[in-house]
């Protein structure tokens, strides 16, 4: 019974395309995140979404947009994909502001390759 699930696991696409990555959590958490892991394994926060409040890392291009249809889902949309967008994208969830002493739970990642 997967706690945080992402689909697809692998995504290969051409430059200029628009793609989405889906994320769902069944933990009842109120906060969800998107992280980008680059080729050097560095984890960078992209977005945090808590009770309809979106916090955006200012370095993230506006081609990236999160969409949350409900508390259990936070999907990532990427427009006009570029070669530099190739990375592994992780979704995560936690109790966020409610319980900052609790850990985050991560999905298995989506490896995006732009060709």
């Amino acid at each position: 019974d997967t706690a945080v699930s992402q689909t697809p696991k692998y995504l290969v696409t051409q430059m200029g395309n628009d793609k989405s990555i889906k994320c769902e959590q069944n933990l009842g958490h109120d906060t969800m995140y998107w992280y980008k892991q680059d080729s050097k394994k560095f984890l960078k926060i992209m977005f945090s979404y808590n009770n309809k409040e979106l916090i955006i890392n200012e370095t993230v291009p506006n081609r990236f947009s999160p969409k949350s249809p409900d508390k259990a889902h936070l999907n990532l949309h990427i427009n006009s994909l570029e070669l530099g967008d190739s990375a592994v994208y992780f979704c995560a969830s936690s109790l966020g502001r409610v319980r900052t002493d609790t850990e985050a739970f991560f999905g298995q990642g989506t490896r995006l390759t732009v060709v």
Partner: protein, 115 residues
């Protein structure tokens, strides 16, 4: 702003020997500190955390970590390494009260345990 430093990109240790993966942090006020492990092609998994109380915290798979407030450190340790401990380890910090609830991660340390 909070930050985490993991000064070693890679740590090599022989199986059966003790291991240490270093982490230092900077945060306003008291910190909440976390260690996560990432196995190849997997998401991050929570190992252990320090919130308050005893400076030595024990976690999954025989790992432990020592919180040292004066040195602002939270090093991960294990008395006897296993080959299966080989993975990427991330330290993360949040401020204990107030501030951002979004955890900040270090750059990761690759642990390689040799048979």
């Amino acid at each position: 702003a909070q930050s985490v430093a993991q000064p070693e990109d890679q740590v090599n240790v022989a199986e059966g020997n003790p291991l240490t993966v270093k982490c230092t942090y900077s945060v306003s006020g008291n910190p909440y500190l976390f260690w996560y492990v990432q196995y190849p092609n997997r998401g991050l998994q929570f190992l252990l955390k320090y919130i308050t109380g005893d400076n030595l915290v024990k976690g999954s798979y025989g790992f432990e970590a020592e919180f040292n407030k004066s040195q602002t450190s939270f090093h991960l340790k294990k008395p006897s390494a296993l080959v299966s401990d080989s993975a990427l380890y991330f330290c993360a910090v949040r401020p204990g009260a107030g501030g951002s609830y979004i955890p900040t991660f270090g750059r990761g340390t690759s642990l390689i345990v040799h048979p």
